[in-house]
């Protein structure tokens, strides 16, 4: 089985301060730690599990700058066989739609049965790359996959819906699946694989090699701003009855009950 996994190197911003840079359109990256986008790690693990089960090859692909090769190398250490970097430095600022088109132009020349992507990136958070890419490649897709298997050359897929409900689907291959976190437990890389990964050659593709010149943009980011919030604890005073009533009132007002 030939599997392609699309991954993205993203700044880890969940638990740290994020500051807007001087352009107003990006963030200060000096002090941020970069790592594989969270749901992408699950996508990769799912690929490795499938490879362990059915055999085959995994190719990881990422559109990014040179540092992205570190991220690709981690994927190699965790079980991918080949890695491709598409040189982001050949392009200007890209939106998600352009990214999908670039990925598509690179992937269309490859053999694949299954493509896995993460279901969302933690930086831009559009949840659109995977599904768009599937459409561009003209293959079926399913997003937010929380259970995956292959039977009789078709994918047996469960998607996560709101409220704890699961949607069970049957999809023909080749197809693309965006993977939800929690579908599996991403593995660690062993030192042996780390060692092997450091010696592997990552294929780097420039814009010239994509056989496509124009990538249409859907949107442009105009500005970033800090959401207006003010967090200063408001102590609700008075008797127990009074303070409780005030709190219940706040819940109501905020539509929480």
């Amino acid at each position: 089985m030939e599997i392609i996994v699309c991954i993205k190197r993203v700044p880890q911003t969940a638990e740290v301060a994020v500051k807007i840079d001087s352009t107003g359109k990006g963030i200060e990256k000096d002090r941020l730690t970069f790592d594989t986008n969270e749901s992408d790690t699950y996508a990769l693990e799912e690929a490795v599990l499938m490879k362990e089960k059915f055999g085959g090859n995994i190719t990881v692909i990422s559109l990014g700058d040179e540092d992205t090769e570190d991220t690709l190398r981690i994927a190699l250490a965790k079980g991918a066989d080949n890695a491709i970097r598409i040189k982001a430095e050949d392009f200007g600022v890209l939106d998600g739609f352009q990214t999908s088109q670039i990925l598509q132009s690179a992937i269309k020349t490859l053999n694949y049965d299954v493509i896995f992507t993460g279901c969302i990136s933690t930086d831009a958070a559009y949840s659109q790359i995977g599904v768009t890419l599937a459409e561009l490649l003209e293959i079926p897709h399913a997003s937010l996959v929380v259970n995956f298997d292959i039977n009789n050359e078709r994918a047996d897929v469960q998607r996560e819906l709101e409220g704890g409900l699961i949607e069970h689907l049957d999809i023909s291959l080749p197809a693309l699946f965006t993977i939800q976190t929690g579908i599996n437990e991403p593995r660690y890389a062993s030192l042996i694989k780390i060692r092997r990964a450091t010696k592997k050659i990552i294929k780097v593709i420039g814009k010239d090699e994509l056989q496509q010149d124009e990538f249409i943009s859907n949107s442009t980011l105009d500005e970033l701003f800090v959401p207006p919030i003010s967090k200063q604890v408001e102590f609700l005073t008075g008797s127990v009855g009074e303070s409780s009533a005030k709190l219940a009132g706040i819940f109501k007002e905020k539509g929480l009950i």
Partner: protein, 395 residues
């Protein structure tokens, strides 16, 4: 799907070589006596086996974190992150081999490949971004000092008081930094703080294995020291102490570092601090690894306590000074969480409580945090206090 376990270990020179490059060069000294293993705090955990003595051999064989099986590998990496870096093994090893260093070699490689526990990843990110492991804003680093009239450090002041991240941000720990600044003033010592210019000393992330980010944050501190002409530093945390004293010189730092207990004992001896209020409690002193075993400061904190009238100083028999047992917080342990019956802190706390003390005295914010948090679920009236807090009460 679980792959089949192989009982054959293959020699892998490459793994050995890279681990040696990352600092595991001591492995050839090991003669497999196993003393490290039974002195290790994990030895006292009944339900868990931490085979410290195997790491040299496993490294030499290239059999470290080498399993091809996902679950076995996870267990191996889990093991690598159990080590609290207390150096009890190093202290007792006939050849002075540091198991923490051997494991750190593996940790460095694993960190580069994101193959380490998520809780520690978050610590690394926070220290990198916010200069503290709590993820609190840099701008608030000096908030503990609001209203205390502590000057910003300048070259005309003798000492820089470098707060630990915990004592800077955590409301409970801020009592330590406040007590410290009060005592320093009382002793007539000229000092200032750097506030938001301070970065975490980086000790924890270096031990976690994140060498590159450690170097980044430590260099930020070192260039601050240079820019502000800092010559002498007082620290609350033995972890800062160890790092400044033993590791920053690698990167060109030229500072003289004192732990607060050294300064306080000196002040008591010189009579600038006179403890005169009785503190009629039985106090047991817990030796922090980074202060005692790693830096040989055993007597100063004890002497401070002994100088307090009414205070009865107890010792944990057989487990004091260099034979003290780690609180479990070292080398990332503060953020790791093991099953309830697999916690080193419980072992140490039991030993401390068995002395019948009313107060557990500590000289390290990490130890304080570990003991106090654990005591909360124990229904005990025993207090955990920093030496500075106890001294403050006797003034």
């Amino acid at each position: 799907m679980k792959s089949k376990k192989s009982m054959v270990t293959e020699l892998n020179q490459e793994i050995r070589e890279i681990l040696i490059e990352e600092g595991a060069e001591d492995i050839y000294k090991c003669f497999q006596c196993g003393k490290c293993t039974s002195i290790c705090p994990w030895f006292q955990i009944e339900v868990f086996d931490f085979p410290a003595y195997t790491f040299s051999l496993k490294t030499a064989m290239g059999d470290m974190a080498a399993s091809e099986d996902k679950f076995e590998l996870e267990a191996e990496i889990d093991m690598i992150y159990r080590c609290v870096g207390c150096e009890a093994c190093t202290d007792q090893c006939p050849h002075g081999i540091s198991t923490p260093n051997i494991l750190r070699a593996a940790r460095r490689l694993l960190v580069d490949f994101g193959s380490y526990p998520d809780t520690l990843k978050s610590v690394v990110q926070k220290i990198h971004s916010d200069a503290n492991p709590l993820g609190e804003p840099r701008e608030k680093r000096a908030d503990w000092a609001n209203g205390l009239e502590i000057p910003s450090f300048s070259a005309d002041l003798e000492f820089l008081y470098f707060t630990c991240c915990l004592t800077a941000y955590d409301p409970r720990m801020q009592k330590l930094s406040k007590a410290t600044s009060f005592l320093l003033k009382k002793a007539g010592i000229s000092f200032g703080i750097l506030g938001e210019k301070e970065s975490c000393c980086g000790e924890a992330i270096r031990r976690i294995g994140s060498e590159s980010i450690f170097q980044e944050v430590s260099k930020a501190n070192i260039s601050n020291f240079e820019n502000y002409l800092v010559k002498k530093v007082i620290v609350s945390s033995p972890h800062c102490y160890s790092t400044f004293k033993n590791e920053y010189p690698e990167f060109g730092a030229e500072i003289e570092v004192s732990h607060i207990t050294e300064i306080l004992f000196d002040s008591i001896e010189r009579g600038t601090i006179i403890p005169n209020k009785e503190f009629n409690k039985k106090v047991v002193y817990h030796d922090p690894c980074d202060l005692g075993r790693k830096n040989n400061i055993y007597d100063e904190p004890r002497n401070v306590l002994k100088s307090i009238p009414g205070l009865e100083l107890l010792e944990v028999e057989d487990f004091n000074r260099n034979l003290s047992v780690c609180c479990g917080a070292g080398s990332g342990g503060l953020w790791m969480e093991w099953d309830k019956d697999e916690r080193i802190v419980n072992v140490r706390l039991k030993q401390l409580l068995e002395t019948g003390a009313d107060v557990i005295a500590v000289a390290c914010p990490y130890c304080l945090q570990m003991f106090e948090e654990t005591l909360k679920s124990m229904n005990s009236n025993v207090l955990v206090m920093d030496v500075t807090e106890i001294l403050l009460e006797s003034l």
